[in-house]
């Protein structure tokens, strides 16, 4: 029970990071981006490649940061991957979404995002093969927190949680203390009024893709550290991330954070009552529940 709760919080840490970018894009560009989860895969695999490159260039960075199985090289790789994934999100928007946006209605974007998801997911599969990989072949031993009830936690997971919370805190500071953050929130609330107040809409949209992509990359790497890297990971993450945004309320960054943890905990706690095979359905049940009792989520606002 406590173990499930703990696992749920750890799952929530990467779901939240994934959901933040999604909720911003859904709110500002007004479409459900089904390819957002593929940014997590992209980021995870980009970090894998960067990790190999950094390790090759600077072998002294391959020493593990005990007690973690992580290396300095991987941490640098994560930072590079954040930039690369953010830029990829920007390029995908320029090449595809922007054009569809200008030609069609909002829901055409949803179709296009499904198409992009298929393309990205399968290109990754072609490049890296269909079987799972890991960042580190070493077995990471779990630390026993308690024997009765048995509670295990891996140091890497604790790192993931702390790093995720730190990133969210940085984002919080940006949103609540900087005029750049105000301009993001302004565009989310009322794009044309934001322009009236001198905010450049195109540049803000670019910033949203960069931030969303960067956080998605971290989320993807953290998923890879917690489980494994597999090209179809986006397929398994897309519904939980959507559930997190809906639970939190579309457009609310804080809602996405809370929603991510709720979905993570719920999916893990469900193991207490449901066989593990049903875990993929839990986010859907949460979505139904929220739509029934509080359709606009915890922090969302009604918007047509």
């Amino acid at each position: 029970m406590i173990q499930h709760l703990l696992d749920g919080v750890l799952t929530g840490s990467y779901l939240s990071l994934g959901a933040i970018g999604l909720t911003l894009v859904m709110h500002i560009l007004r479409f459900a981006n089904f390819s957002h989860a593929e940014l997590l895969s992209l980021g995870a695999y980009a970090a894998l490649v960067c990790d190999a490159l950094v390790s090759g260039l600077a072998p002294f960075l391959t020493v593990k940061l005990a007690p973690l199985s992580l290396t300095g090289a991987l941490i640098i790789a994560i930072l590079i991957s954040m930039v690369l994934t953010g830029l990829s999100a920007l390029i995908i928007d320029r090449l595809v979404f922007k054009r569809v946006r200008e030609r069609g209605q909002e829901l055409s974007m949803v179709f296009a995002s499904f198409g992009m998801a298929l393309i990205i997911r399968n290109v990754i599969g072609l490049i890296f093969g269909l079987s799972p990989t890991l960042y580190s072949r070493d077995i990471a031993f779990a630390v026993i927190l308690s024997r009765d009830p048995l509670i295990l936690v891996k140091p890497d997971q604790v790192f993931v949680l702390i790093a995720a919370l730190a990133l969210m805190f940085i984002l919080h500071l940006i949103l609540s203390r900087t005029t750049f953050g105000y301009s993001l929130r302004a565009v989310a609330e009322n794009p044309s009024l934001a322009q009236v107040n001198g905010v450049n809409l195109q540049r803000t949209i670019m910033a949203v893709w960069l931030i969303g992509g960067g956080l998605a990359a971290v989320a993807g790497v953290f998923y890879g550290i917690s489980h494994q890297l597999i090209p179809v990971m986006g397929r398994d993450l897309v519904l939980p991330i959507f559930a997190a945004t809906i639970v939190g309320g579309i457009g609310s960054v804080y809602g996405a954070v809370l929603g991510g943890f709720i979905v993570g905990v719920a999916a893990n706690m469900a193991l207490v009552v449901l066989p593990s095979g049903y875990t993929p359905s839990v986010p859907f049940l949460l979505i139904l529940l929220v739509l029934m009792i509080r359709p606009h989520g915890l922090f969302g606002e009604a918007r047509a």
Partner: protein, 322 residues
Amino acid sequence: MIGIFSYLIFFATTASILAIAVLGLNLQWGNTGLFNGGVVAFFGAGAYATLILGGTAQAGHLGGFGLFYPLALLGGMAAAGLMAWIVGLLTLRLRHDYLAIATFGVAVAFENLMRNAEWLAGGAKGVRGFERPLRAALGDGFAYNLLFFAGVLLILIATYLFLERLVASPFGRLLRAIREDEAAAASLGKSPSKVRLTAFVTGSVILGLAGGLYGTFYAFVSPQDVLPTLTFQIWAMLIVGGAGNNRGAIFGAFLIWGAWTLSGWALSRFAPVDVQLYTGSFQFILIGSVIVGMLMWRPQGLLPERLVVSQRGKPQSTQQGE
């Protein structure tokens, strides 16, 4: 020679069944502007329910009601409709993309349930023990397949005619009115969410019909038949054919199914063995590119809607962001 002919009948039967599904989706997306992200769930509900209702008794899972076939098929359609009604009721009043996400979730949960709930539908092993209608009289040979194809073709034509009349009716005009300008339609005293729900359920019943026929054709359905792949294929058929145009929908179904079959055959025939492992990946990239490419360069499809189209939206207002 009979081999090729027999294969063509097989191909045409599958394509016609898919065309019925595309017609159902067209009512939702093309005519009403509703995004169904879980086509396969409604298709699958039709298939599973038809087989469970019409099949012989099976150990270990629900079934064996042995209903008269048309009744079983109607049951399949009803199951799809019921599912659509529940999802629609919860989402159609909200932001448009909630429906997309919820229906996508339905598909995930449906496949998940079918794979795990052995007591319900046999789990991963699927539903067996279904006797195809009239099999006792006609056997399993070419004659049966020909007749089955004729039956499917008749249903396809009937569905087409039904939808053509529906779209031309006052209800059809109302659907387009709501798609184009919901506020204006609402001001005429029509409840847009009720009308959309009707269209969504009707479209899903047609998807269920297609699923029922599909299950009947193979006399077997398993979780492998309700993977998201099918949703993407059916979308691509509609987008390529031309959303809003029923003839385009049918044309798209045959074209995309032909391309899919051909590409699979070509890869298995000509590609080296180690590449064949990636047949699926290539095909998915292909279908993703078809969807994205069409939306970017020819969003109206190959056979565009013949009505006065204002679906393209208002480019200026989109750029302004409001």
